[in-house]
């Protein structure tokens, strides 16, 4: 039992807590448990996530948290049938021996309260073996946003136990595909990171490709293919306003925002030659960054916005190059065997992810920006188009079996945790949003 004093502190603290507030007892106590995201051979942490009190929605929130943590590969949620203590009360300390007995190292409990038409969720994260509370947070939201509360709790737990930011309260834009391989229908779509709430953004009249999020998450840029060629567009997700970006007298494709959202880098083709340009979204002026007879495409900014990694076959086969954001001093960084395409700089700046084609197979891989430390994470008939979760720990990409429809997959940066996305149905060209606000 916790003391009256602790209970009073707890009540006062809960009242003061808002979205993403600090831990309950001042600075977080040194946890006995932690998850090392950098180790490739880490054993997933056993965690218990019983249904929260407060009826159906409390159970649903616990389910979403469970599935989020499980999907990371870093946690092993314990089967609720094994639980000994039932009907936990969020204001009372759990019976730790009951949780030690089933080898739960961490425990999440919580309560959902209807507060005049808004949901208030109080939750705690416990270190079972040291009997310490690691987190005590409160979230409020309108009832239809209950999944986002579950995602925010998942993010808080992930961050507390791994030391890395979470990535669960995010969305993924992608291309939903239907029809046959020679008569594909593609629609721009968006879903929650866990596959929930899929929504179509275009009607399938034209082929769409390669959506990318702005840093605000409220805007996409993408490529649309019409009979006369491809063009790049901006799409505002709040207003549904769509705008073609510029007239360049040839095809434009491969757009990607700068980290501050003020610019879009892209490829423009003239006379069969593709070069990289950058457009200032305020002035709408654009400037050329490469002028090489080779194919230059797939630009991606470094997180500080000062450099761009891109794909070029100026050396005879497609390889990765880095240049200044003004186009200065391009230099090759990929030197392995095979063809390297679709470079994407990680949000932390630590890695560049890419698609690699060698010996009839496709791979997703990562390397450091200086080209060192190349690591192949996946292998299949066709793996393509990696996109980073905002914490730089997980990649989503699409995979096609020979003759099959593309599906979305995730892999962590160690390559150990590879799994299909929860999305049912086909998808390609994923783009992971930043963390939502």
């Amino acid at each position: 039992m916790i003391s009256d004093m602790r209970r009073n502190v707890l009540t006062a603290a809960l009242a003061a807590l808002t979205l993403l507030c600090a831990g309950f007892f001042g600075h977080p106590a040194r946890a006995e448990i932690e998850v090392d995201v950098n180790r490739g051979d880490v054993q997933p942490l056993p965690i218990a996530v019983p249904a929260m009190s407060g009826g159906q929605i409390g159970a649903q929130i616990a389910q979403v948290i469970t599935s989020n943590l499980e999907s990371s590969g870093l946690f092993r949620p314990i089967d609720p049938n094994a639980f000994i203590e039932r009907d936990l009360n969020v204001t009372i300390q759990p019976r730790f021996p009951d949780w030690k007995a089933i080898n739960a190292q961490a425990l999440i409990n919580g309560a959902v309260v209807d507060e005049g038409g808004r949901l208030r969720v109080d939750f705690r994260l416990w270190d079972v073996f040291s009997e310490q509370q690691l987190l005590g947070l409160q979230f409020t939201a309108s009832p239809e946003n209950w999944r986002r509360i579950a995602h925010k709790i998942s993010d808080a737990v992930y961050e507390r136990l791994t030391g890395e930011k979470g990535y669960f309260d995010t969305r993924v834009a992608f291309v939903a595909e239907s029809g046959t391989r020679t008569k594909r229908v593609t629609r721009l779509a968006i879903m929650d990171q866990d596959g929930a709430n899929p929504t179509y953004l275009t009607d399938g009249g034209f082929i769409v490709m390669t959506p990318r999020f702005s840093p605000t998450s409220q805007e996409l840029t993408y490529t649309e293919l019409r009979p006369e060629g491809s063009s790049i567009y901006l799409l505002n997700l709040e207003t549904a306003r769509r705008e073609k970006l510029g007239q360049f007298g040839g095809m434009t494709f491969s757009p990607r925002f700068s980290p501050d959202g003020s610019r879009v880098a892209f490829s423009a083709e003239r006379g069969g030659n593709s070069d990289i340009f950058v457009m200032n979204l305020h002035s709408r002026g654009s400037s050329r960054l490469t002028a090489d007879p080779a194919i230059d495409t797939s630009p991606s900014f470094s997180p500080d916005g000062n450099q761009i990694v891109f794909n070029s076959d100026r050396g005879g086969s497609p390889q990765l190059y880095i240049m200044g954001a003004d186009g200065a001093s391009p230099r090759r960084i990929s030197f392995g065997q095979g063809r390297y395409t679709t470079p994407v700089w990680s949000p932390t700046g630590e890695f560049i992810a890419f698609t690699k084609q060698v010996g009839g197979a496709f791979h997703i891989g990562v390397m450091r920006p200086d080209g060192s430390g190349e690591r192949i994470l996946t292998t299949s008939y066709l793996d393509e188009g990696p996109t980073w979760a905002p914490n730089g720990r997980v990649l989503m990409f699409f995979r096609e079996t020979s003759g099959g429809a593309p599906r979305l997959w995730t892999v962590d940066v160690t390559g150990r945790i590879l799994r299909p996305s929860a999305r049912q149905g086909s998808g390609s060209d994923p783009a992971w949003s930043p963390l939502l606000n």
Binding site: T182, G272, S274, T297, N311, D313, Q357, S402
Partner: protein
């Protein structure tokens, strides 16, 4: 009454008549072994008489000259490329020469050259590769006297394969440049 009128004598008459027909048929079969029993009689020819060579046929059976069908069937609207290459191959040259000749004969026709790539590459790179292929064909046609003003180009990358298979033959078919007649064809 019906039963009494169906006499044995009548039956014999019917049989004799049938035998006579069979005998006649057998004689005809012996004379014209290539004709089946249901074939028309020799007085009705099975094929039309060949037209008089000095008289043009009243109706053409081929595509209308100057039409898209004429271009596709008699010239060829697609040429193929090697993997990750945009060089005009030797087997593509006669087709493109014929395209240039046809386009000079039908000078009101506008074309769009559409470059395509196989699925063994990534989307963005293959869009750029398709543009190179379209431009190679464009340059060839211009070098053979087709006005550049009549030609537009586009790339569909690996997005619109003509063969959904995953064999090397399918990949080869999907590495192509297609010449589409966009205006002026009959």
């Amino acid at each position: 009454m019906a039963i009494t009128s169906f006499s044995t004598k009548d039956g014999l008459k019917i049989t004799a008549a049938a035998l006579a027909v069979l005998a006649l048929a057998a004689c005809q079969t012996n004379r014209k072994p290539t004709l089946s029993p249901t074939a028309p009689t020799p007085t009705a020819p099975t094929v039309p008489a060949p037209p008089n060579p000095t008289t043009p046929p009243p109706v053409s059976l081929g595509p209308i000259p100057g039409s898209t069908q004429d271009f596709v069937i008699n010239v060829g609207d697609r040429v193929y490329f090697d993997f990750d290459s945009f060089d005009i191959r030797a087997d593509a040259q006669p087709i493109l020469e014929a395209q240039a000749g046809w386009l000079q004969r039908y000078s009101g026709v506008q074309i769009r050259i559409e470059g395509n790539a196989d699925e063994r590459g990534t989307r963005e790179y293959n869009l750029a590769l398709g543009a190179r292929r379209a431009n190679s064909v464009r340059d060839f046609l211009v070098s053979r006297g087709v006005s550049a003003a009549r030609i537009s180009t586009a790339s569909y990358g690996k997005e619109q394969p003509i063969d959904g298979g995953t064999s090397e033959e399918a990949y080869q078919r999907n590495r192509n440049a297609h010449t589409a007649l966009t205006a002026g064809a009959r």
